[in-house]
Each structure stands twice: as C-alpha cells, then as structure tokens.
Amino acid sequence: MTAVTVSRTAAPTTRTWTRSLSRRRRALYLSSPIGLGHAQRDVAIADELRLLQPDLEIDWLAQHPVSDVLEARGERIHPLSAELASESAHFTAEASDHDLNAFQAIRRMDEILVANFMVFHDAVEAGEYDLVVGDEAWDVDHYLHENPELKRTAFAWMTDFVGWLPMPSGGEREAFLTADYNAEMIEHVERFPRIRDRAIFVGEPDDIVPDDFGPGLPSIREWTERHYAFSGYVTGFDPTPLVERREDLRRELGYHADERVVIVTVGGSGVGEALLRRVIASYPDAARRVNGLRMIAVAGPRIDPAVLDAPAGVEVRAYVPELFKHLAACDLAVVQGGLTTTMELAAAGRPFLYFPLRDHFEQNRHVRHRLARYGAGRYMDYDASPPEVIAEAIAAEIDRPIDYLPVESDGAARAAALIAPLI
C-alpha cells in the first residue's frame, strides 16, 4: 500500500490579521435568491447605506439570480458565492403547473440551507466583517439562533413577512407544522435577543396579517410590532418619473393612444406556463369586450414562446428589456402573486389581475393582505378562473379608477437608517 505523503517544501500558509483601528468598515450582504425582488431592494438599501457610511465596503454572498443583478452593477461578490447551493433551482423543482407549496419547499430545502450556512460561516470566519445583513437569509438567521456562539458580527435581519401559515390543502398536519416552526422561531428570538441586532419588517404594521402564529401562540402582528422596526415598503426604484411621463413612455414603447395594452408576465421562473396559456386563451373573448385590446405575453427565459400556441392578436415575447417601463405604461397587467411585481404595479398605479400560486402561503395570505391594504389589484383564484372569467375581469378592471394608497418611496433610506448605527 502506498502512503500518502505531505510535501515538506510547500510554501508556508499565510494569515493576515488587521489591527482594529486599521480596518475599513465591512459588511457581508445576503439577499434571498427566491423570487426576483430582493436583489432590487437590497442594492437600493446598500446604496443608501453607503451614503450614510461612505467608507463602507460591501461584499455580497450571492447566487443566481441575485448575482446577475449585482454583477451588472459591478458590486463585489464574495468568491465563496460560487460554493453556494442553488435555492432558486430547488424552488423551481418544487413547483409544478400553477402550484408551489412554499412552506414545504422551504422545509425541503433544509439540506441546502445547512450547506449554505457552512459557506456563510467560512466567509465570516475569515472576513473581518463588522456587519452581516440578511434579507430573508433563512439559513443565517436560523442557524445563528441554533449556534449562537458562531455570531461574529452585528446582524441585521430583514423580511417582508412574518409567520409560516398553513394552506387548507395541507390539513391538520400542515397547521401543526407551521405552528411548530413559528414556535421554534419565537423561542429562538426570545431566548437570544442578541442574535438580531436589528430586525426590519419591510412594510408597515398594517401589512402584517391578522393571524396568530398558531394555537396558543401570540398574534403575529402584536409580536412583530414588539420585535421589529418598520422600514415601509422598499420598491428599489422611484416610479414617480415613469408615472409622470406615462404618455411619452407609451409613445417610446410603441403603444398607440387608441390601443388598450395588457401585459401578461410570470417573472423569470419556469413556473407560469399554465397561467400564460390560460390568459392567452382568454384573449379572443377579452378582445370582443374591450376595443383596441392588444395583449403582450412575456414568456421569460425559461418558457419557450413556441409552445404557448398564442391565438392571432397576441404577441409573445421571450424577453422584454426594462419590463417595469412596460408595466408602468400598460393599461392592465396580469401577473402571479409575488410581492415585488404586484407592488411595482401598485406603486405605478396600474390596474392588474394577480393569480397567487396554489398552496403558496406567502402569495395567498401575506401578499394578498398587503395588496388589499393598498387597495391594489384584483385577486384571482386560478382554479376558479377559466378563460372567460379572465376575459370578464380584464374588461372590468381595465377602466377601473385607481385609488390605491400611495406606496412609500423612502423605504430604502429608512431601512439603511435603521442598519447604519450597527457600523
């Protein structure tokens, strides 16, 4: 048997330790890759943080699709990011048709969360960071509470919803499990208040659902108000200029004055083909009801436009650059129930229909509650919406007068102001 040998002539391993007052201020920022919205709000918050603390150096521990946004902006991506396991691929694998049980998908991501926490731990062990910001970085928050001695920096935690909620299809078992997860979270936070130096709810107290965490557990709103600060919603961009020059925008985008433009979009994930097909199928009926109706369906990078069988009159596009401009200029949008896109439409003051994914507790309960507060959009039940129902809803909503509550435009600055004292 051959022995494994160790080279005696290898270069010495080197280590550097920086004296405390020689250190720059450094933050490690984690932005959830589930959904497309966190990256946008997090770079806005990072910009505001740098205004408040100009010598702040931010590294991002990030994966696709967040890393794409960051690379485009020239942000510093931590090299260990390459070792992260993909959370967005897991969510795509968990989804089918118009269905995604988000709570079970998070539970079934436990192996990935442990693996990614270990990557995070390696990064902070070596990185001389002053601050970690985790925007729905579930792994970091959970495992720091499980291993409190591993906390090495200040920690700012952010989320836009609090509380796992059961969906009816999950029955008694899911109700028990969500309550158990909530109970563990509550015990963690109450036992170790030192882990989250700052907990920020991205929204206002009125955005919190009126539910309890579970049988015998506190009211989510009352508990969250005690344990969180509130930044208001963070859009990540200011829609005002777009809204003010909407007529110019329409001209630039080629939308004529006598056209009624409906944009159908399902975001960048592969989930959404079923919804796209069904909305497209509603077009002939909707076009009979609405004069000058023009429907543009955005397939996104994961859905082949050719498989959608669009009827005459529907334009299917694989990709639309600066989609938010089209959403601000359109007459009506049809979307899934994700928070980012629906709130962009609320901020832009556009009418829209939204279809939460079946069994997705965040879209069906948290997001829906928030949109109702703003008076924005029309909730649609996918299972109860054959094409003729969608056509009817398009006709009813496209001329609806917009009386939404205004969406906050200072959320990023408020979030940054809450975090800045930690560095």
Partner: protein, 313 residues
C-alpha cells in the same frame, strides 16, 4: 415561554405529498458505483476531492446514506467524501440471510468500498450501530483508517436505555413504547415502528423534519430485511473492549446526553475504552445530532480532522 403544540402523528396516508420524491440535494455525487463481495452489491457515492478522505460509514440498515445529507456537501468542498448504503437498504442488495448482516460482513463491505473508490486511507465517521463495523475496520486495518469519529455509538459497553428490554421475537400483548421494537409489530405496522423509533432518536424539540426524513428513508427499506439485521451477529462486550484497546488512531466520540435510543452511557464508555479518545458531549442532544445539530457536528468533525496528519502511523 411559548409551548409548542403537541406532536400530531403524521400517520399513514396523511402525508402532504402522497408520492414523496427525493428533495433537491445541495450537492450531487461526482461518481457512483457498486462494490461487490460474494455476489452482493453495495452502492456508493463519491464526492469532491482532498486529503484526508472522509468515509461516512453506514449505520443500521434502518436508513441509508442520506442520513449524512448535512455532512456531505460541507466536507466535499475540501475533502474526498465517500458514503454508501449498507446492505439491506437504499440501492444496495438485500440478501435474504441473517448471516449476511453480521458486523464482520459490514466491516468487509466498508473495506471493499474503500478499495472500489481508490480510497487508501480515510477518516471514518460512524453513527450509532455503524460504530461496530468501524471498530472492526480500524482495529484490523489500522493503516487504512486515519481517524475515527463515533456519533451516538451503539456498542455493548456502559449502560443502555432503561425499559428497552421487551423481547424481540415473542408476540407481545402491548404495543406501548419500546414494545414496538418487536418483529411482530414491525410486520404489522412498520411505519408506526419507524415513527416511534425516530421520535426517540430525535428527542430535541422541533425535530419534525428530521423525523419525517428518517421515516421516509426507513420506508425505503423493509421490515423483513430489518428483522434479519436484528438477528445478525454484532459485537459482544469482550470483543468490543479488545478492539477498542487496539485502536491507535486519533478518535473523537460525539455523544448526546439526552440520547434516548442507546443512552449516553455507551458513548461515554466507548470514549474511555479507546486510548486517548476525545469526548464531545452534546448537552440536550439526542441520538442523531449530525442531522439535528448539523452545524455544530460539522465543525466538531472539521476541527478533529484538522488535527490529523495524512501520514500513516
């Protein structure tokens, strides 16, 4: 203090996903294959590269190698990691003979997997019953094993769990508690046994996911095979003490002090029986801390591996 609601038994047919498929892994193997001995095939997976190699030994065939899912992705970033399914579960064969499940056979499989994966030498990490095959391999093939980590070792040393004394082979007039550890009950309600057993294995609060995982892996096996493993020859106390005294490699024992399957006394006794062994006690920890407290266990193993050279003794 918030009290968690009482555990609701998942029960047969109440699963949320009626046809559970394997959830996404954080990392997939670079290579898989079978090691064959006496016509029996043992399925293995190889991940990553780097010395020393880490061999994740199989535990009792009640589960397969997914029990190491929280260790594999972490260690594979720095090390060659080998995991395999013990005969009797997962993708390995299930020979229908009780003799096939003797600890010596499993130790021989372990060496066969090392050969098949070109693993000259490895740190051997074992869980529960895996301790017995690990002891045999390390004592009899010292040049192949660079270090030993035992987690909740099931060895016939020290004292076990009180009340685990119901006869296995006789029909009982009760199914309460450890009376479920009985061949007739296994045949009657295997899933019920698995749910009981893994509720004992994970005594820590909020362990629903770990219990569900383990029950699902248990359902990848079958009661008849598990009955064979129960009748197979394991180590007795004398043999265990002899093997322990012969261990010369660095050794770490990780033992939960709330282990309700083997009891903490067995791990503590093993740490005393092996010369210069280190003991890490997980206060409040149950029988499978690598699944329930994976971050701490990963760091304990990492720190242990860092102290080991890659040169043979």
């Amino acid at each position: 203090m918030v009290r968690a609601p009482d555990r609701v038994r998942a029960g047969r047919g109440s699963r949320i996903d009626p046809t559970p498929r394997e959830q996404s892994r954080a990392r997939y193997p670079d290579r898989t294959g079978f090691a064959e001995r006496d016509g029996i095939q043992t399925f293995y997976e190889v991940y990553g590269q780097g010395e020393p190699a880490i061999l994740l030994a199989p535990t009792w065939s009640i589960v397969h190698s997914r029990i190491w899912k929280s260790q594999i992705p972490y260690f594979a970033r720095r090390h060659k990691v080998v995991a395999f399914d013990a005969r009797g579960n997962g993708r390995s064969d299930r020979p229908p003979l009780v003799e096939a499940y003797a600890e010596r056979e499993l130790a021989a499989d372990l060496l066969a997997v090392m050969d098949a994966t070109d693993t000259e030498r490895a740190v051997l990490v074992s869980l529960s019953l895996g301790a017995q095959r690990a002891l045999i391999a390390a004592a009899e093939h010292p040049t192949r094993i660079a270090g030993l980590v035992f987690i909740g070792p099931a060895v016939p040393l020290g004292s076990g769990v009180p009340g685990r004394d119901a006869p296995f082979d006789e029909p009982l007039d009760t199914d309460d508690g450890w009376a479920k550890y009985n061949r007739h009950f296994w045949r009657r309600d295997y899933e019920g046994f698995l749910e009981f057993f893994f509720a004992q294995a994970f005594t820590e609060p909020h362990s629903t996911k770990q219990i569900e995982d383990a029950v699902d892996w248990g359902l990848d096996g079958d009661p008849e095979t598990l009955i064979l493993t129960e009748g197979a020859r394991g180590l007795d106390a004398d043999a265990t003490v002899r093997l322990c005294a012969g261990i010369r490699c660095p050794t770490l024992v990780i033992q939960g002090d709330a282990d309700a399957v083997t009891g903490p006394g067995r791990g503590f006794a093993l740490a005393e029986a092996i010369p210069n062994a280190r003991l890490a006690t997980i206060r409040g920890g149950g029988h499978i801390p690598n699944a329930r407290d994976p971050v701490r266990i990963n760091l304990l193993i990492r720190d242990f591996v860092r102290t080991i050279g890659t040169l043979p003794p």
